[in-house]
């Protein structure tokens, strides 16, 4: 993928405002939680925000490192818990998921896409060539007369032949199904882990849709 003639600067390498040391110490003492979306719609991350004011009590015990909310691009230090939304559909997803596995003690598949592939996995029943052709060559919404091109560039992650659930790529410790899961379900699992209880998602809040 990388080309030695191109100078790449990743966003996490850009200069950033340093932390207030006192604040940093408080945050480092808390349980470190990271989150990421792979091939999904980000709905599960939004579902986490649906826990509303319950997040305030939780933030006394946990701190969120790399996540869409914090805009950190790499996991800064080892995390206790990692939430993964979305399945694996390209090479970048694999790299990110492995990065999370290496840096998190507990990894959780959140939502249908992470658990079994979800809506993106509907392409698993169709050959990849046909999918790309439908999207870029024979697309019914293509601009007439425009050059028909399947995007391919070193900066675009290569698509995988099929969409994989996270646990087929790395070991996952817990699963929260749902499209998206209820905020209450995510909170229950997080609360169990934070308080050292065995994770138990009651069937009343477990759902697949």
């Amino acid at each position: 993928m990388s080309d030695s003639t191109v100078t790449e600067i990743f966003s996490h390498e850009l200069p950033a405002t340093p932390w207030d040391p006192a604040k940093k110490e408080i945050e480092r003492a808390k349980i470190q939680v990271a989150m990421i979306g792979l091939c999904g719609c980000w709905g599960c991350n939004l579902s986490l925000l649906d826990i509303d004011e319950a997040i305030l009590g939780l933030l006394e015990k946990v701190t969120i490192t790399r996540a869409s909310f914090t805009d950190l691009k790499r996991i800064p230090h080892r995390c206790a818990i990692g939430f993964i939304e979305g399945g694996v559909a390209n090479e970048e997803n694999i790299e990110v998921l492995e990065h999370y596995r290496e840096n998190c003690d507990i990894l959780i598949s959140v939502g249908a896409c992470a658990v079994w592939g979800g809506t993106p996995a509907m392409r698993n029943m169709i050959p990849l060539e046909e999918c790309l052709s439908e999207a870029y060559i024979d697309s019914p919404t293509a601009v007439p007369g425009a050059k028909k091109v399947i995007p391919f560039h070193q900066d675009i992650p290569k698509i995988t032949t099929r969409v994989y659930p996270c646990h087929e790529v790395v070991k996952m410790d817990y699963f929260i199904p749902g499209c998206p899961p209820d905020g209450a379900a995510i909170l229950k699992v997080l609360d169990d882990l934070v308080n050292g209880r065995e994770v138990d998602l009651p069937k009343a809040i477990n759902r697949y849709d």
Partner: protein, 234 residues
């Protein structure tokens, strides 16, 4: 004749010959089922109601009770075996609940919740299957068929008694088929009956779907466990 059986260690008095799955329900013990319809001849196809009877694993919908029978339903190994059977169904078909018209009133989904399935332990297969839109009022979403054979046995042509649904081929090649000519003769109430009898979202009534809002769907109003336990004839 009144007999004694042991159900999860509890002594139960019941009537000889009653189906084990019904006897358990009458005594407050829920056994998940998918192919079984109370009052209809057993099919024994889905095996979801597997329990241990006198040390052997058997489908509870196929077993008439007899005196002295020892039955284990909620023993951990048997419970996990039933869960595995449900997980197999989820990995064999393409059960995409978020996009399914039957979601919320699907028995497979409801049983999935009851057995506590979060993910299938088996690899998801994503087998490509073609849909069948040929008949006027029904269509077949073959991705979701679990081959329970409820429709094959219980939905028949009103005049001739002929089967309208059938299963063609065997094993991984098996497909659910519909006789279009007979299907087009089905009165509207039989169309509705067929769609409701299907425990998954395979037989779907055309122009119908997503009618009940989330939170007010069949198994959200009353769970499949509650429904199974309330049909008690003591």
């Amino acid at each position: 004749m009144r007999i004694h059986i042991t159900l999860d260690g509890q002594s139960v008095i019941t009537r000889e010959g009653d189906m084990l799955v019904d006897v358990a329900a009458s005594n407050g013990v829920y056994i998940p089922t998918l192919c079984y319809v109370r009052g209809k001849p057993c099919l024994g196809t889905c095996r979801t109601c597997s329990v241990r009877v006198n040390g052997n694993i058997m489908a509870a919908c196929t077993i008439p009770v007899s005196d002295g029978m020892e039955v284990e339903v909620n023993e951990p190994e048997v419970t996990d075996m039933r869960k595995a059977l449900v997980e197999l169904l989820f990995s064999e078909g393409n059960h995409n609940c978020p996009s399914c018209e039957k979601s919320g009133r699907c028995e497979l989904q409801a049983v999935g919740y009851e057995v506590g399935m979060m993910v299938s332990r088996f690899p998801y297969k994503f087998t490509p299957r073609t849909r069948d839109y040929a008949s006027n009022a029904l269509w077949l979403e073959r991705d979701r068929c679990i081959f329970c054979q409820r429709c094959v046995e219980m939905i028949r042509d009103k005049e001739t008694g002929q089967k309208i649904f059938s299963i063609e081929s065997r094993g991984t090649q098996a497909t659910i088929e519909i006789d279009v000519e007979l299907a087009n003769r089905m009165p509207p109430e039989q169309v509705r009956e067929a769609a409701e009898l299907c425990p998954v979202g395979c037989i779907i009534e055309k122009s119908l779907g997503f009618n009940d809002p989330i939170g007010k769907r069949k198994f959200e109003i009353k769970s499949i466990r509650e429904r199974a336990l309330e049909r008690v004839d003591k």
